[in-house]
């Protein structure tokens, strides 16, 4: 093969799709996100069926405070925007700026996760609302917890590839990895928009 994926002479404008492996990853990851959509759709369906089954415990109106959730939403939406900036700099082959924006993305994601942990702690200790207290509790912690688990995995993933490639910069081998990690991050964000609407907004109205 003529070109060297690790040390390309020129970086193309779309380095994530410049090799066959990159194209495969790109397409395969979109398919994977299709499957993830069904996964979350199933969890949303379950939640909608059980959200009023509070079994005498606290209801969603009593639990949810929109202030905290609004801050969390802003953090995660902003992190999606910063990951777009990172991909913009990847396409311009500016590795340093890409790393900076990815770092900001990670920081915002960590902030989100911290608030979510606080939120769960608050429900458990002030309302004794747990995974085991009612079908509503089970459905709530499963749906939101699955999302939180995805956020955690996404953060570990982005940190791993940032650290792995910190010294060698961009090439045609790692560009698809950065790109699909950012796709994953956008997906997490989109799921959160639905959680914000279906769980929290519909929960207090």
């Amino acid at each position: 093969m003529s070109h060297d994926t690790l040390n390309p002479e020129v970086m193309p404008s779309e380095p994530e799709k410049a090799t066959l492996e990159g194209k495969n990853k790109f397409l395969g990851f979109w398919f994977f996100l299709g499957g993830e959509t069904v996964l979350f759709a199933s969890l949303f369906g379950t939640y909608l069926a059980l959200r009023n089954s509070n079994n005498g415990g606290p209801t969603s109106e009593e639990l949810f405070g929109l202030e905290l959730v609004f801050v969390m939403t802003m953090l995660l939406l902003t992190s999606s925007l910063t990951s777009v900036y990172a991909m913009y700099h990847m396409k311009n082959n500016d590795f340093r700026k890409m790393q900076i924006w990815l770092g900001i993305t990670v920081a915002l994601g960590l902030g989100f996760l911290g608030f979510e942990i606080y939120e769960f702690y608050h429900y458990i200790h002030h309302y004794e609302f747990t995974f085991r207290s009612s079908a509503f509790g089970s459905a709530f912690y499963t749906l939101v917890g699955f999302h939180g688990g995805h956020v955690l995995f996404g953060l570990l993933w982005i940190i791993t590839i940032m650290a792995r490639n910190a010294k060698r910069g961009l090439n045609l081998y790692n560009a698809p990895k950065f790109y699909i990690a950012s796709l994953y991050w956008h997906f997490i964000d989109v799921v959160w928009v639905f959680i914000f609407t279906v769980v929290y907004l519909m929960g207090v109205i």
Binding site: G28, G34, G35, L50, A135, T142, T160, Y173, K177
Partner: protein, 618 residues
């Protein structure tokens, strides 16, 4: 990155080769061996069921054990036998049919296999660890949530792990078929087996996550005290039925469509005609795949969803008969006026048409919601789904194995033994299941471990059991055939059937890199196009060059092993909290292997063109 063609021999080397292989041909063989193994286990369970039911109030097995073998028969046959055997054919054939050197994600291909195998082993480990799952293959809550012991936990964790493998395999084939086609291989030139693989992979992608969620919820209810299906906590057990069948109904199309693909390859080859109505066949395949998602509630007619829901799902279900009917007629018209050659592959294909049509007709009967109240949970249903799954899927797998055996192993299966297999299995099958329609209509419920004498059920059940023995004989003869062919069979050319599609354009044995030069596809039935113009080989689409191949890796095995260990931890932590250690160790192994995979560059290697003539990669 350098070329390694060093040939090591000996058992250890072969074992290591298969543990680390990312070659789709070898992974196909691994799927075949393990799927065949589970098929035999599932068959033994079937025999135990039929022996128990040979006479009224038999005591061959206890009631509890009957529940276990019944559950495990269904679960094993669907998830651990039919699925992997189909994946065996897909892996062996699809990359060759599209002119590719491997699948899009060879590493993930290996991971998918090992996840399936370790999931299957975990599920079957339950036999030795206090009893197998006993809540039916559908594991309806609350029966499954309240089932004592750990049987159902093994079901949950085993299927969760093997299901992840299936999902990975599905994504892999989707990307392979989109991105890896040879020049000129447009979508409307894809062989029909590749088309069905494509549609089935999409079904897997959108169906399996529903099972994943269902199994998680069941696991949380059983092992972590949640209340999804527990009415005392406000839960609703019908949610399980919806999630299970949103997966479960597409699953039956996941099984049958590849079999349709096999017949669509075998019939044209041995009728010496191109497939009749290729475009309609593709359209029908896609339509069946689409409608397959719209009909899950026909399994739940008696739940009480209401007349509106039942009517909608009844009509949608009946609609599937239309594209399926199109296929049946297209196969018949393919045969019409053809120069038909009868051999084992062809016998399975020809017998499939009437057998499957019978199963389809009872399917339409069951789709009538009002009538279903009478059929529901009787042997009529058992007869119906065995007619479509055995008469469709198993016949398809047998046809495919006889057809592609020379491609996979370089030898043609013995014809005499093949015909003995066919006739014993075919007659045994109809003997076993035809009578069950009438047993069901007479009111015999499914899943009961005994029936009473003098209810008009004695003779029918006796005949059914005799038929099961004939099927067992047919299976044993097939195993003998495999041994005889492997030891005594003669090597054949790369194109023993005078084939039409690209997989027959390759020498025997198939080189590691499949195609020395990527072929140029100039029409439907690419090899046949060349043959009609007097050429014996494909026209190459590229000059001879270095060939890029993926590296072998042990990581998929390690990742799957980690989940296997973690599975035991999840199951037993409810008895003793220290088992959480196994969860951490197992997940640590898996996540650690994923970390290594992420940070360690894997660029594959090249086979240099100078080495190709010296036999590199053969």
């Amino acid at each position: 990155m350098s070329t390694t063609t060093a040939q090591r021999t000996g058992f250890g080397a072969v074992l290591w080769d298969y543990l680390t292989t990312v070659d789709h041909k070898k992974i196909g063989i691994l799927y075949l061996i393990s799927g065949g193994f589970f098929f035999l286990i599932g068959g033994l369970e079937a025999m135990a069921i039929r022996i128990q039911l040979i006479k009224p109030e038999n005591d061959f097995v206890s009631a509890g054990f009957y529940n276990e073998i019944l559950t495990m028969h269904g679960t094993t046959m669907i998830f651990l036998a039919a699925m992997p055997l189909i994946f065996a054919l897909m892996n062996a054939v699809v990359p060759l049919q599209i002119g590719a050197r491997d699948v899009a994600f060879p590493f993930l291909n290996s991971l998918g296999f090992w996840l399936f195998l370790f999931g299957g082993l975990l599920l079957n480990a339950s036999w030795f660890l206090g009893g197998a799952p006993d809540a039916g293959w559908t594991a309806y809550a609350p029966l499954s949530t309240t089932s004592p012991g750990h049987g159902v936990d093994f079901y949950i964790l085993g299927l969760q792990i093997s299901g992840a493998g299936t999902l990975i395999a599905g994504i892999n084939f989707l990307v392979t078929i989109v991105n890896m086609r040879a020049p000129g291989m447009t979508y409307m030139r894809l062989p029909l087996f590749t088309w069905t693989t494509f549609v089935v992979s999409a079904l897997i992608l959108f169906a399996f996550p529903a099972l994943t969620v269902g199994l998680f919820l069941l696991m949380f209810d059983r092992l972590f005290g949640s209340g999804f299906f527990n009415a005392n906590m406000g839960g609703n057990s019908v949610i399980w039925e919806h999630l299970f069948w949103i997966f479960g109904h597409p699953e039956v199309y996941i099984l049958i469509l590849p079999a349709f693909g096999v017949f669509s390859e075998v019939l044209p080859t041995f009728a010496k005609k191109r497939l009749f109505g290729y475009t309609a066949m593709v359209f029908a395949t896609v339509l069946i795949g689409f409608l397959g998602f719209m009909v899950w509630a026909h399994h739940m007619f008696t739940v009480g969803l209401g007349p509106a829901a039942n009517s909608i799902f009844a009509v949608a279900t009946m609609a599937i008969a239309v594209p399926t009917g199109i296929k049946i007629f297209n196969w018949l018209f393919t045969l019409w006026g053809g120069n038909i050659q009868i051999n084992s592959a062809m016998l399975w294909s020809l017998s499939f048409i009437p057998t499957f049509t019978l199963g389809g007709m009872t399917g339409v009967m069951l789709a009538a919601a009002a009538a279903d109240y009478q059929y529901h949970d009787t042997y009529f249903v058992v007869a119906h789904f065995h007619y479509v799954i055995v008469g469709g899927v198993v016949f398809g797998i047998f046809a495919g194995l006889h057809y592609w055996w020379p491609r996979m192993f370089g030898k043609i299966l013995n014809e005499t033994l093949g015909k003995i297999t066919f006739w014993t299995f075919f007659i045994g099958f109809h003997l076993t299941f035809f009578i069950q329609h009438f047993l069901g209509l007479m009111g015999m419920p499914r899943r009961y471990w005994v029936f009473l004498a003098d209810q008009g059920l004695d003779t029918g059940n006796f005949i059914s059991t005799i038929g099961a023995f004939l099927m067992a004989v047919g299976t044993i003869v097939f195993l003998i055939n495999v041994i005889v062919t492997t030891s005594k069979g003669e090597k054949v050319s790369g194109d023993p059937w005078d084939g039409r599609t690209l997989e027959w354009a390759i020498p025997n044995p198939t080189p590691h890199y499949n195609f020395k030069q990527t072929p140029l596809v100039r029409g439907l039935d690419a090899l046949w196009v060349e043959k009609t113009e007097g050429r014996k080989e494909m026209t190459p689409a590229e000059p001879l060059d270095d060939i890029h191949m993926p590296n072998a890796s042990i990581l998929p095995f390690i990742m799957s092993l980690g989940l296997f260990i973690a599975g035991f931890g999840f199951i037993y932590q409810i008895d003793n909290i220290s088992w959480l250690l196994a969860v951490f160790i197992g997940m640590g192994i898996t996540l650690g292997a994923m970390f290594v995979r992420s940070v360690k560059d894997d660029l594959g290697h090249h086979i240099h063109k100078e080495d190709l003539d010296k036999g590199a990669g053969l």
